[in-house]
């Protein structure tokens, strides 16, 4: 991984040599060069944020691990050594071994758990990213509307989120899954996002309440911009930081929650392999075949741990003033 802070921290002396004699204008690399020969690099907020993030070693390492693990899930078809439903009765109930690459062992039907876990990652990450996407979309729109328009929109939203908070989250999800139907990845994702958007709506609302008073909003209004343009072109980019952090952490929470739902039998249904489901299927014989429970669980821990570290790094990088979790 390249370190962007190195190439962007060219000294003025170097820049002076490079840019001597050039008139004020844009240099080839997009930097501003003044007549005196000083090159001033254009640094956006994002440049600073990127640099702060890459200084966070644990977050960078976690990002790397995540790319490998989630990438393996995405490319499961090519990465997994066996198909997820390939039955091989001669190798049934084998513990973790390097022999014929049953790294995570096999179950009583001889299905290779390493491959099943990789396919499980695929299902879980699909659901989790869809949840994060939907929750961000709903939460942003509702929060923006509440914060921008205020009054009854705001009141209705806040009362509704208060109400949702009086119900135990997991129980509501389970009830919704039981009576709305579950099983398909999309249904599970939609049910999860129905509950997850409220937290973001509150964050965005808070940001919009204060951004609304900013002068550039008045300026945009005076220039004749419509409400939607002001909300999404002018104000939204200024609260992207918390939204990105929320989206990242939501992926982690969604993976944990989906695993719990699938484990209890109210999420993804077999034969689709999902991490929580693999644990549920392994538990009946787990006293002897402990690897069927151990490895899918460890995979979840690894993924969520990395996501939380990346989320922490992003929070430090994108909005240094805010600490959501101590």
């Amino acid at each position: 991984m390249t370190n962007p802070s190195l190439d962007s921290e060219r000294t003025f002396a170097q820049a002076a040599v490079a840019g001597a004699g050039m008139a004020a204008g844009e240099a080839g690399d997009g930097n501003l060069v003044y007549e005196t020969g000083l090159e001033v690099e254009v640094r956006s907020q994002w440049t600073f944020a990127r640099r702060r993030f890459f200084r966070h070693r644990l977050a960078v390492l976690s990002l790397f691990v995540l790319i490998v693990v989630l990438g393996a899930g995405l490319l499961a078809k090519w990465v997994a050594p066996y198909p997820y439903d390939g039955i091989d009765l001669e190798n049934a109930g084998v513990g973790p071994t390097f022999d014929s690459w049953h790294l995570f062992g096999t179950d009583l039907l001889g299905r290779d758990y390493f491959s099943r876990v990789i396919y499980g990652i695929q299902t879980s990450e699909k659901v989790a990213f869809l949840v994060a996407f939907l929750a961000v979309a709903i939460g942003t729109v509702v929060g923006a509307a509440a914060g921008y328009y205020g009054r009854w929109v705001d009141n209705a939203l806040m009362r509704f989120t208060d109400l949702v908070l009086t119900l135990p989250g997991l129980a509501v999800l389970l009830t919704a899954a039981a009576f709305l139907g579950h099983g398909s990845q999309y249904r599970v994702a939609i049910i999860l996002s129905l509950l997850f958007w409220t937290a973001l709506a509150r964050i965005v609302r808070g940001q919009f309440l204060s951004l609304r008073e900013k002068e550039y909003v008045d300026a945009a209004k005076a220039a004749g911009a419509g409400d939607l343009r002001i909300m999404f072109r002018h104000m939204l980019p200024n609260c992207l930081g918390p939204i990105i952090v929320f989206a990242t952490l939501t992926v982690g929470i969604a993976i944990l929650t989906e695993a719990a739902l699938s484990y209890l039998g109210f999420g993804i249904l077999p034969p689709t392999p999902a991490l929580g489901l693999l644990i549920a299927q392994g538990q009946d014989v787990s006293t002897d075949l402990w690897w069927l429970v151990l490895f899918p669980g460890l995979t979840i821990v690894l993924i969520v741990l990395c996501i939380n570290f990346v989320g922490d790094g992003l929070r430090d990088a994108l909005d240094p003033t805010q600490r959501i979790r101590a």
């Binding site: 135990p168 129980a171 719990a260 209890l264 151990l294 669980g297 979840i300």
Partner: protein
């Protein structure tokens, strides 16, 4: 203060009414209460008609809602679909079990969480601090049901291999637990692992909160004053700093307690504990909406109640909080 409490109680009433209406409409409008019954080959047409009659299922939803509230208030939440005993009778049996589980988990979590947090804060950036941080991050990332299963596997195998029974891995008590102290010990052996599983996440949360809140307090002026007047370091930390730093943790624990009562679902169903969570899952599996709604209503009430307690506690512990 008293008017504040009264006002908060009065404010909770519309919240609970709204919550009950939301629960009722969401659950009955979405799922046909008779769906499962109609699929059951053993249920005759008469039975279905009888249930439809008894539950007033031909009436419009608002009328059904009024009947339901009436049942909830005067008749122990009415009856499940097929059994003729009030739901409350079942709940009366399972609630104490859940309370025993949750209260002990909460106490243990507070004890460990606060100690770890305090130690991490006074020895900031030490090895122990980093270890605490790592462990709490692990706690946040760990699925509770997985931890529960791993502990269950470990202790079952321990028993099978060496015939050592340290903790039981299923159920609330043995077939013949004995009486008095024997009964108590037996119950403790059964509850130990579930309590541990429930406590782990809470320990992670509390230790992080305690650490952050103590770090904030130790830099305040009155702590410097306490040091300046020559108090010992231990007295400064324990008597002056920790007491104030505890305030957010105490309110947080009151807040999460309400949620925990409903949230022991996974743990209870793994360890087959006859508690509220297990009861909820069983009725969800048989798609009986009435116990599910009663359960949701009781948990919602608990959460509202503990939010109220958290607010009052906060005002009591921190006199600077103004009510107006």
């Amino acid at each position: 203060m008293l008017t504040y409490i009264l006002r908060r109680i009065l404010y909770s009433i519309p919240v609970l009414i709204a919550a009950s209406f939301l629960i009722f409409t969401a659950v009955t409008a979405v799922g046909d209460p008779l769906a499962e019954l109609k699929l059951n080959p053993l249920a005759s047409k008469q039975t279905i008609e009888l249930v439809r009659e008894r539950k007033h299922l031909d009436e419009p939803i608002p009328v059904q809602y009024v009947y339901w509230v009436q049942d909830a208030l005067t008749n122990g939440f009415g009856t499940p679909l097929l059994v003729n005993e009030p739901i409350w009778d079942d709940l009366k049996r399972v609630i104490p079990h859940t309370l025993a589980l949750v209260v002990s988990a909460e106490l243990i979590a507070l004890l460990f969480g606060v100690s770890i947090g305090v130690y991490s804060a006074i020895r900031q950036y030490s090895v122990a601090d980093y270890a605490g941080t790592t462990l709490s991050f692990l706690g946040f990332a760990m699925p509770v049901f997985w931890l529960a299963l791993m502990l269950q596997i470990a202790f079952t195998n321990l028993f099978l291999a060496w015939n050592v029974r340290i903790f039981y891995t299923s159920g609330l008590s043995s077939v013949d637990p004995g009486g008095g102290l024997h009964w108590l010990l037996d119950r403790a052996q059964h509850l130990a692992i579930p309590v541990m599983c429930l406590a782990v996440l809470q320990i992670a949360v509390y230790s992080r909160y305690m650490r952050a809140s103590l770090l904030e307090v130790v830099h305040s002026d009155y702590v410097r004053t306490a040091r300046a007047k020559g108090l010992s370091e231990g007295r400064v930390t324990m008597r002056h700093a920790v007491r104030n730093a505890l305030i957010p943790v105490v309110t947080l624990s009151a807040l999460s307690f309400g949620g925990l009562i409903g949230g022991a679902i996974i743990t209870e169903s793994i360890f087959q504990l006859d508690g509220m969570g297990n009861y909820f899952i069983e009725n969800l599996l048989s798609q009986d909406v009435y116990p599910v709604m009663a359960w949701l209503m009781i948990t919602a009430t608990m959460i509202v109640l503990f939010n109220l307690i958290a607010d009052i506690l906060y005002g009591y512990l921190d006199p600077r909080v103004r009510y107006d």
